[in-house]
């Protein structure tokens, strides 16, 4: 229900999702719809404001009907009621969208209890103060069990932290001083160890505060595109206002010319106006925007502004880090390549034994490969006298001594040195094999037994499953992908080809990244990237969409315009899809709204002038019962369609990755042609009902 987007684009993980019409939210929204009737608030929405003024006018004129005992009373009161419903329905749509955010904000706020902080004094002691008294620059100390009192950076120590409040992810994360994992967020809890934190934000300005404000929509500004669309629909409203207002003198002339009939009543004129002005999109516009933000949130991405979400729909170039985004962070053994005179099996066995104690993913992959390819089973090492040599940065090798065997695996240079030290000679083809692997984008891992060099393990970057398809999908959307990697160009090219990215930036320094973004932008492209390090910050700020990882540094988070709480860089793809979906929904409902008018004209115009020119009956193509039922049917349809489209506005129009041409063709067919056709049978049906119920 939550997610209309195609499954391959958006994974079904929706951490904080609620059903669309949750009872609590519904109640909240209904209440809010009435509060929003206040003309001062409604004036911000010109279309619905016009409806309210119309509703007010017809309501006031009811008094006159009562006073004169007019037979029109029952018709007029129905019109007035439906006009009020129209306003309420539009309010309800917005209120629904807001209520979802407010409910989330409430649950966030509950976690924001005022904790006690231990502030370090200059003499090395600490004092207890309320977290609210902390200022940026204060140093606090937190130990296991403490709630971190504010946003800050770890300046000393390492600790595991529970950040589920923010991310919804229960697994603890490691926070340590220095490097890119130093940022901590207020409201999260230290699980083990002790850290010193330098506070970086003042009370009320913390990440949690900002998050609450964002989900609540308190800081909601209209996005540029929303403003432009508002101008369009306000302009259309004005044009229809002119068309309806001038209908009064037109009909006066016509009634005189025909010698029969009269000027249509205010209620009928107002009905026509309300039916014509784009109430559907006018009523749903802000809901669409809020819901778009909400959908981003459901993906555990915090967008700092609606503008950022909108911009993500426009992205032309996606900068993706190789490691962790395109490839599963670890390399895997894919092949054993022995030197001359050594059998495959011998190498495989040596490699396996040397890796048995190696718990790194690379090590495990060696064991798995040996088992799968050569049927070698992990042996009971207890039988033997095994002595494991762990990896050290100094030797750049690891291995095992079993009996007389001294098995080592490691960087080619290190193994060469090891073999020589043992008094052996290195076969010529070892280096050749290693270089060949490098050229193919892999990492060579040499294996030796004492003074014998046995061969090389081919470790390879493994592109994530399905990545190629997703990148192809992006290409169809007109988005080019660029892989960013520290690898040499050779390796980078090989992986780029395998992953199916359009371009790559090898041996990329942060400055290279920044320059690349600037170059793309100068060529008229919008760029999105992810980043987590402090040195990513300039590039994140320069990019049109900068998605910072929540695990990253504060500098990175501040520079980007979105934060991914799951710290999953592939999320960028989902965000782009949501951005597009947001714009499509607006366009689709605008088109639908305008296309609807045709049927409404055919309902109301003949009804209006049946008395003046009976010949106009020819325009009553729907064969509506009588003038009153026709007008009522159109007004009722106009009101109900708003409610009917609330789910679509909140969920967004279905988005399929594809070329612009294909998308437009489809959406024009569904929302353009659909908008033209649907109202005819719908109004006809309502007219039958209205007549059958004796309303008119």
């Amino acid at each position: 229900m939550q997610n209309e987007m195609s499954a391959d684009l958006l994974p079904q993980k929706l951490a904080k999702s609620r059903p669309l019409f949750d009872g609590d939210i519904l109640r909240r929204a209904i209440g809010e719809s009435f509060r929003k009737l206040n003309p001062m608030t409604l004036a911000k929405n010109p279309v619905i404001f016009v409806v309210e003024v119309g509703a007010l006018m017809t309501t006031v004129l009811l008094a006159r009907d009562v006073a004169t005992g007019s037979s029109e009373f029952s018709f007029n009161i129905q019109i007035a009621l439906w006009l009020w419903f129209t306003v309420l329905f539009a309010n309800f749509a917005e209120a629904m969208a807001e209520a979802r955010g407010k409910a989330q904000a409430d649950s966030l706020r509950k976690t924001k209890t005022d904790s006690i902080a231990k502030r370090m004094l200059s003499n090395g002691h600490s004092e207890k103060v309320a977290a609210s008294q902390l200022r940026a620059g204060d140093i606090v100390i937190c130990e296991a069990g403490d709630i971190i009192p504010g946003d800050g950076e770890v300046v000393d120590g390492i600790a595991t932290v529970d950040e589920s409040v923010i991310t919804g992810e229960s697994a603890p994360v490691i926070r340590e001083s220095g490097g890119d994992r130093s940022a901590v967020t207020g409201g999260t809890r230290v699980l083990s160890d002790e850290i010193k934190i330098r506070i970086t934000s003042n009370p009320g300005e913390t990440f949690l505060d900002r998050m609450i404000a964002l989900v609540e929509g308190a800081e909601r500004h209209k996005t540029p595109n929303e403003i432009a669309l508002n101008i369009l629909i306000a302009g259309l409203t004005l044009i229809f206002l002119l068309a309806v207002v001038t209908l009064q003198p037109f009909s006066q002339y016509s009634a005189t010319a025909a010698g029969s009939g009269a000027v249509p009543s205010v209620a009928v004129l107002v009905s026509l106006l309300v039916c014509l002005i784009p109430t559907t999109i006018g009523g749903l516009l802000s809901a669409i925007g809020i819901a778009g933000m909400d959908r981003v949130m459901q993906h555990n991405v915090l967008a700092m502004s609606g503008k950022a979400v909108e911009a993500s729909g426009d992205v032309n170039t996606l900068l993706l880090d190789k490691t962790g985004t395109l490839t599963i962070g670890n390399r895997q053994a894919v092949e054993f390549l022995p030197v001359q005179g050594v059998s495959d099996t011998e190498l495989a066995e040596a490699a396996q034994l040397s890796s048995l104690a190696d718990e790194t993913p690379e090590g495990r992959s060696v064991v798995v490969l040996a088992k799968e390819k050569y049927g070698l089973r992990g042996r009971e090492l207890a039988q033997h006298e095994a002595h494991f040599i762990p990896f050290s940065a100094y030797t750049r090798m690891s291995g095992v001594d079993i009996n007389s065997d001294r098995l080592r695996k490691g960087a080619t240079d290190s193994i060469v040195q090891f073999v020589r030290e043992q008094g052996g000679t290195v076969p010529d083809d070892l280096k050749e094999i290693a270089e060949r692997i490098s050229r193919q984008g892999g990492t060579p891992l040499a294996v030796a037994n004492g003074q014998r060099a046995l061969g090389v393990i081919h470790l390879k970057d493994v592109v994530k499953g399905g990545m190629k398809e997703r990148l192809a999908q992006l290409r169809r959307m007109g988005i080019q992908t660029v892989m960013i990697t520290g690898d040499n160009p050779l390796t980078a090219a090989a992986i780029a080809a395998e992953a199916g990215v359009d371009n790559f930036l090898a041996q990329a320094s942060p400055a290279d990244k920044l320059n690349y973004i600037k170059k793309e932008q100068a060529e008229g492209r919008l760029v999105a990237m992810t980043g987590d390090g402090t040195n990513d910050a300039p590039a994140l700020a320069q990019a049109d969409v900068g998605l910072a990882m929540n695990t990253g540094t504060m500098a990175a988070k501040e520079a980007g315009n979105m934060v991914d709480l799951d710290s999953n860089p592939t999320k960028l793809i989902e965000v782009v899809a949501i951005g597009k979906q947001l714009l499509i929904t607006r366009g689709a409902l605008t088109t639908f709204s305008i296309a609807n008018d045709v049927a409404k004209y055919f309902a109301i115009i003949p009804a209006m002038f049946m008395a003046t020119y009976p010949a106009l009956c020819a325009l009553n193509v729907m064969g509506l019962n009588n003038p009153k039922s026709a007008v009522l049917a159109a007004v009722i349809f106009n009101a109900l369609i708003i409610i009917a489209l609330v789910p679509l506005a909140l969920r967004g129009v279905k988005y399929r990755a594809g070329s612009a041409d294909a998308l437009l063709r489809r959406n024009l067919l569904v929302y353009g042609l659909g908008g033209l056709v649907v109202p005819f049978p719908a109004i006809w049906l309502i007219d039958r009902l209205v007549h059958a119920l004796g309303w008119a």
Binding site: G478, I594, Y601, L664
Partner: protein, 581 residues
């Protein structure tokens, strides 16, 4: 419809198609300041004009200065035309001793000719001296058309350039349009027309004694020179009251064919110029295609309606197969007249070879709708292109959203400012049409009042009663706001009320489109051009053409459906039932 009629329409359209490219390529060169075959002859004239006027050829203007220059030029143009009419009686070249125009008529006519509308509240042969026809009206036929082309070129530059502040120089564009386009084309056209029988003389009217011995005064004048520019400048203001239906203006079907070609020559060519200037010829052809679809639809609606005739008249014994002949010339017939009516209302020309007032309701409806849809179906010289680009911006905005990107046209983002300007233009013209039509259908004066002397209520000026009368008023303001100039000519519009309100409608229809579109040009010129990807909405394919056509139709239809249903639509049904007023 006859096969010959369809053949005429088809051959005409093919001819337009054939001339669009050479004409467009030529204009692109002219406005880029490149040398053409005409330069050896005309370049000295161009330079001479710069020297006289004090223009430095290579300075460019921002949009505000460009608009300022246009306004200043239009202001003095207005003043000249106004004063010449007011002093007509005292000026030479007035063999019929016609008196000076009243202030309101002079205002209306001055506005009309400086805005390229050429609405004529007067009958030429009984009101305007040769001097006024030549030195006021013909001049404006050149000037207003050249200004329109200049604006279109400036807007194209806005789309073609990136991150620049200026959009060209109005004086240079204006001069080039006059020197390289309108003068040579008019000269050639005038000589051809005269060879076919269009008159060109300064002599007074001729008195003939007819075969049956009656006296017939035959109006004369310098017609050919005005006729040519009236067509090629899409002005449409006839020398005579009957306009191009008058045998002295348009004596044969051949001259008529040339006149029709001349109307579309520049508007159609400009679509090609557009493609060339923005560096993608397909973009130009897309606009051409959209215009063609709308145009041909209009032609065939009118033709079918006129050919099927008026049942009220067949009931009186007229041949049903002949169609509706009231207000049509024998030499042109139903097909040609229908084609011309579609061309003239589509192109905001306003010349006529048949009386639109006497068209069948559906034929009249199509001419009305051509104007109400914004005069963008090829449209006026320059005006059609910038008007169509206005719709392109709106179409792209709504459809662009549906492809999931911030809408862009030719790589330029369409944002709040562009939408605002496009809507402003749209609202202004709709308001001018609807509000003035509304006022005129109810406003009442006494018969001896200044405002509508002799008629009383504004509806007293109508020539027809019932829905058709309402259509006369609606047509008048649609024509004025669309800067078309044709009329349901039964309306006696030469009273202060109509002269002033129609004048205002013309001003709105001209300047409240030009100024917003220049603002758009300025804004777009300053923007970066975005890269084109498969995610970009293509604006050159059939889908976009369909979308553009749909936008033009639906915006026009939604705005004017109520008004139209009370005039031609209901009249159509009434006519079928034999209704009379």
């Amino acid at each position: 419809m006859t096969s010959n009629g369809v053949l005429q329409i088809a051959l005409y359209f093919l001819a337009v198609l054939a001339i669009a490219k050479p004409m467009g390529a030529y204009m692109a060169r002219v406005f880029a300041g490149e040398r053409t075959f005409a330069h050896p002859l005309l370049r000295p004239l161009e330079k001479g004009l710069y020297r006289l006027v004090g223009v430095t050829e290579d300075t460019e203007q921002r949009w505000t200065a460009y608009a300022g220059s246009l306004l200043s030029f239009s202001f003095f143009s207005f003043l000249f035309v106004y004063l010449l009419q007011r002093m007509q009686a005292a000026l030479p070249l007035n063999p019929q001793k016609l008196s000076s125009a009243t202030p309101d008529l002079a205002f209306n006519t001055a506005v009309s000719f400086t805005t390229n509308t050429n609405w004529q509240a007067y009958a030429g042969e009984t009101t305007m001296s040769y001097l006024v026809q030549m030195s006021a009206l013909t001049v404006q036929n050149f000037a207003s058309a050249a200004a329109g082309v200049a604006i279109a070129i400036a807007l194209i530059r806005g789309l073609a350039r990136q991150q620049e502040k200026t959009i060209g120089n109005f004086w240079v564009d204006l001069t080039r349009a006059v020197v390289y386009l309108f003068l040579p084309l008019s000269l050639a056209g005038a000589l051809f027309f005269c060879s076919q029988g269009v008159i060109q003389t300064f002599s007074g009217y001729t008195t003939a004694t007819t075969v049956e011995g009656k006296e017939q005064v035959i109006a004369q004048g310098p017609v050919a020179s005005q006729e040519a520019i009236k067509m090629v400048g899409t002005n449409g203001g006839g020398f005579f009251n009957a306009n191009s239906a008058h045998p002295f203006e348009n004596p044969t079907p051949l001259t008529n064919f040339v006149q029709m070609l001349m109307i579309f020559l520049i508007p159609a060519g400009l679509t090609y110029t557009f493609g060339r200037m923005v560096g993608d010829q397909r973009q130009g052809w897309a606009l051409f295609a959209a215009m063609s679809i709308l145009f041909l639809a209009g032609v065939f609606v009118i033709y079918a309606a006129e050919q099927s005739g008026n049942p009220n008249l067949t009931r009186l014994g007229l041949a049903a197969a002949d169609g509706n002949w009231e207000g049509k010339e024998t030499r042109f017939g139903i097909a040609t007249t229908s084609l011309f009516a579609a061309i003239t209302t589509a192109a905001s020309c306003g010349a006529v070879i048949g009386m639109h007032d006497s068209f069948t309701p559906l034929g009249g409806l199509a001419t009305l709708f051509n104007m109400q849809s914004g005069e963008v179906i090829f449209g006026g010289a320059g005006a059609g292109l910038y008007g169509m680009l206005l719709f392109a911006i709106l179409a792209v905005f709504i459809a662009g959203l549906m492809v999931g990107r911030t809408p862009e046209y030719l790589g330029k983002k369409i944002e709040g400012k562009e939408v605002k300007m496009a809507m402003l233009a749209l609202i202004a013209t709709s308001a001018a049409i609807l509000l003035f039509t509304g006022a005129s259908s109810v406003v009442s004066f006494s018969k001896d009042s200044y405002w509508n002397a002799g008629y009383g209520p504004a509806t007293g000026n109508l020539n027809n009663a019932g829905p058709h009368g309402f259509a006369e008023v609606l047509y008048a303001y649609s024509s004025a706001a669309g800067n078309n100039g044709s009329a349901f000519a039964g309306l006696s519009a030469n009273t202060p009320w109509y002269n002033l309100t129609l004048g205002v409608a013309m001003l709105v229809g001209r300047f409240l489109i030009i100024i917003p579109m220049l603002a758009v040009a300025g804004s777009l010129a300053g923007k970066k051009r975005l890269a084109v990807t498969t995610g970009t909405l293509p604006t050159h394919g059939p889908l976009f053409v369909g979308l553009l056509v749909g936008t033009v139709i639906i915006i026009g239809a939604l705005t004017f459906f109520p008004a139209l249903s009370l005039s031609p639509v209901v009249e159509h049904f009434l006519m079928q039932q034999g209704g009379r007023f």
